[in-house]
């Protein structure tokens, strides 16, 4: 298994390299550093000297791939691609346009993100699967039909509606929670509960419907009939047998996202003013800070690949037939 994991992680290198080349192409070749300088300087201050100064200040004053003026290894080493792109591989994210260290920002901002994403993820998984099982238990009845219609209706509502509506109802009308903001330490729960609740409600339609479909497919299989024939109660059939066998497709969708949890949610964090990585990213997008966007893209890809490996490992835990060789 260790061999397998190591091999899979090695596969990650070409993929991450591809990601880097793609973002590098977008941010340095289509959009030259000159364009970048122009945006940040603003229309009034664009002079060739100002652009050159900005590029020197931010370390963009190097050739893209090949440095003709340098000697030996530096010919390839002292270039933008190595400086700005390959350094990400050793998690050296460099500085944002405002001069702050990106790695440090990530380290401090991942905690608030995690504080929202983790409870949302865990409670959500539990709630959605329970709701889906409930519908499956009453399958074919009006309750089930109503549940499915409700799910379709809920998933047809824009996610922004849940956020804005939730903030208005719980924050302004009922005064349950502060509308937005954040505080570290134990007092944080006041600020965390509303975003978590809103994300939970926003996700229910899609997920419950998906899980219900999985369970309904399992329930038609022979082993379920056998289990019933043995005289097991319907609840036991559902929880032990159906749920157990549906674990593989459930894990496929679920484990992959776990490592990405601490990147946070862009929409939720920016609406509720949570100083996490999601709002960091959205601010960077709006301020056109490409250094941050590039770092987050790389981090996101890295975590996705870790998630894929974790998914494979999780299969061995729920299904003894799966062995990783």
């Amino acid at each position: 298994m260790l061999n397998y994991v190591i091999r899979r992680l090695l596969y990650a290198i070409p993929i991450l390299l591809g990601v880097n080349l793609l973002t590098f192409a977008l941010f340095f070749m289509v959009n030259t550093p000159d364009d970048m300088a122009r945006i940040h300087l603003g229309a009034k201050h664009v002079t060739p000297e100002a652009i050159a100064r900005w590029k020197t200040e931010h370390g963009y004053d190097k050739p893209l791939f090949l440095n003709e003026t340098a000697q030996g290894g530096a010919k390839l080493g002292d270039t933008l691609f190595v400086e700005k792109s390959l350094k990400l591989f050793v998690l050296d994210f460099g500085a944002a346009d405002d001069g702050r260290d990106i790695a440090r920002e990530i380290k401090t901002r991942m905690w608030p993100s995690l504080a929202i994403a983790l409870p949302t993820f865990l409670v959500g998984l539990l709630a959605y699967i329970s709701f889906a099982l409930l519908l499956v238990f009453f399958r074919g009845t009006r309750l089930d039909a109503a549940g499915v219609v409700l799910c379709v209706a809920l998933m047809s509502i824009s996610g922004l509606f849940y956020v804005i509506g939730g903030q208005y109802l719980m924050g302004k009308l009922w005064h349950w929670f502060p509308i937005s903001g954040y505080q570290s330490g134990l007092e944080a729960w006041k600020f965390l509960l509303m975003p978590v609740l809103v994300s939970l409600v926003a996700g229910i339609g899609d997920s419950a419907r998906f899980y219900r479909a999985l369970f309904i497919e399992e329930i038609g299989k022979d082993y379920v009939r056998t289990a019933r024939a043995k005289g097991l109660s319907e609840l036991r059939v559902l929880f032990r047998h159906v749920l157990g066998n549906a674990m593989i497709p459930i894990l496929t969708g679920v484990v992959v996202v776990i490592p990405r949890l601490f990147l946070g949610s862009l929409i939720i964090e920016s609406f509720f003013g949570i100083p996490g990585l999601g709002s960091y990213t959205i601010d960077a997008i709006q301020a056109q800070d490409f250094a941050i966007v590039r770092s987050m893209v790389f981090l996101g890809s890295l975590l996705y690949i870790v998630g894929l490996v974790l998914t494979d490992i999780s299969y061995t835990l729920v299904d003894p037939r799966v062995r990783l060789e």
Partner: protein
């Protein structure tokens, strides 16, 4: 001619798309495999009534895609000149709504402005009060007394008109076929239309926004943007997904490895970030070349198309993966083997033997993706990487009004209108997609 038709790039693509859809329907009617499912969708009450609603939206979008510029009054001795403002047939139809601009917010059916101003009273004194609207309810001499009778009278007439239209339609077209659900849907649509036609010219039925524009007008104009994002993206995504997915499955080996590598790489990047990165790049390019666009409409049009292209270029991986698996399965089947033994070329096998057998997957995915894309527009516009901020869209409507819930009294109508119009569209699309899937993929029936 007092106007000159203008064909924006997106209009041309819509026409192309329409031609493709029409050809597709014509082909499907003459094809055994698709005729049955098509009829099944149409025969199902939910399928037919959601198709009706989608057709209504499509109609609004199409009207809004026939663009023109007005001819300016002729100056003697000069060639004809045209206005720089691009308008559409829908604009023309909604002229009463478009031109009735108030000063700022006003609530639905309001006769007075949302904000207080200094007004001169009848006795000549200046007082702070809510001034009357410039256009909404101006025909009422005494709004307090005359408001309800007037609304009821006009509304009643509108409802009556809708009812008559429904009865006429029923008597001639719908009697022989169509279920009760369909005629109820039709009744709903006609009554709403009747009400709006009767009331909208005299009141701001859904209120006005911050700069005083009629919210109903904005909502109707947003439909086109949403539909474009939902459909044109498909136009970009399909060739990529079909070509690469089927090639990967059918050829296997190196080709498969390479294509799989590409889509794993694309997949590994968080979706919003990839889209954001690409949109930022496009934005910079557009700003750097203002000389390429002669009107503001042309510029936001190009930005919209770029957004569709980006969504398509990042969104093909899911379908490609499905198609790859299907092609992998199909290439081992007897009919493909037989074709190969007869010496049919690879391109021909892919085109004539594999493609028709994966069309149902393609169709299902396209319909399911549509609703997701309409919703995505709103989120992307909020993040700041959606359509041009000057373009009327659901996302921009929501974005412009989301902070106004903090006001007292609450400004809710703009948000409510955007969400409601979007909800109706997406719900219809979702239900329709379910019907299409059930019809084309009998195995999936009853599962969800």
């Amino acid at each position: 001619m007092s106007f000159k038709p203008i064909l924006l790039w997106s209009d041309a693509l819509i026409l192309l798309l329409l031609a493709v859809v029409a050809a597709g329907i014509w082909l499907a009617r003459h094809n055994e495999t698709f005729r049955g499912p098509l009829r099944q969708v149409w025969a199902h009450p939910v399928g037919a009534s959601t198709a009706l609603i989608l057709a209504l939206y499509a109609g609004i979008g199409l009207l809004d895609s026939l663009h023109y510029v007005d001819r300016l009054p002729d100056a003697p001795g000069k060639p004809a000149s045209y206005s720089g403002e691009v308008q559409s047939a829908l604009d023309k139809l909604l002229t009463p709504l478009r031109e009735k601009v108030e000063k700022t917010y006003s609530a639905p059916f309001a006769t007075h402005l949302y904000a207080k101003e200094t007004v001169t009273g009848p006795d000549g004194k200046e007082v702070r009060d809510f001034p009357r609207l410039k256009h909404g309810g101006t025909h009422l001499a005494d709004p307090e007394k005359a408001f309800w009778p007037d609304v009821l009278k006009r509304g009643g007439l509108g409802v009556l008109g809708g009812l008559v239209a429904w009865l006429v339609l029923h008597a001639f077209a719908l009697r022989s076929r169509g279920s009760r659900v369909v005629s109820v849907t039709l009744l709903g649509i006609l009554l709403t239309t009747g009400l709006l036609v009767a009331l909208a010219p005299h009141y701001h039925v859904l209120g006005t926004d911050k700069v005083g524009q009629d919210v109903l007008y904005l909502s109707l104009k947003s439909v086109r943007t949403g539909l474009l994002i939902g459909t044109l993206t498909t136009l970009v995504m399909l060739p990529l997904a079909l070509g690469l997915g089927m090639a990967a499955g059918y050829f296997g080996g190196r080709v498969d490895d390479l294509i799989q590598y590409v889509y794993t790489t694309l997949n590994s990047i968080p979706g919003v970030l990839l889209i954001a990165a690409a949109v930022l790049v496009v934005q910079v390019q557009i700003e750097a070349h203002p000389e390429l666009f002669d009107t503001a409409a042309a510029r936001s049009d190009v930005r919209l198309l770029a957004l569709c292209a980006i969504l398509g270029a990042t969104g093909w991986t899911g379908l490609a993966r499905l198609l790859r698996a299907e092609a992998l399965k199909l290439r081992e089947l007897e009919f493909v083997q037989a074709a190969r033994a007869f010496g049919v070329t690879r391109g021909r096998i892919l085109l004539r033997h594999l493609l028709p057998n994966v069309m149902h997957i393609v169709l299902i995915t396209v319909v399911i993706d549509f609703s997701g894309l309409v919703l995505a527009e709103a989120v992307l516009s909020y993040v700041g990487v959606g359509v041009d901020p000057a373009m009327i869209s659901f996302g921009n409507m929501i974005n412009g009004a989301r902070l106004e819930l903090a006001r007292e009294p609450v400004v809710w109508w703009q948000l409510a209108a955007a969400f409601l119009f979007m909800f109706a569209l997406v719900l219809a699309a979702n239900l329709f997609a379910d019907q299409v899937r059930d019809a084309l993929d009998p195995k999936a029936k009853g599962r969800a």
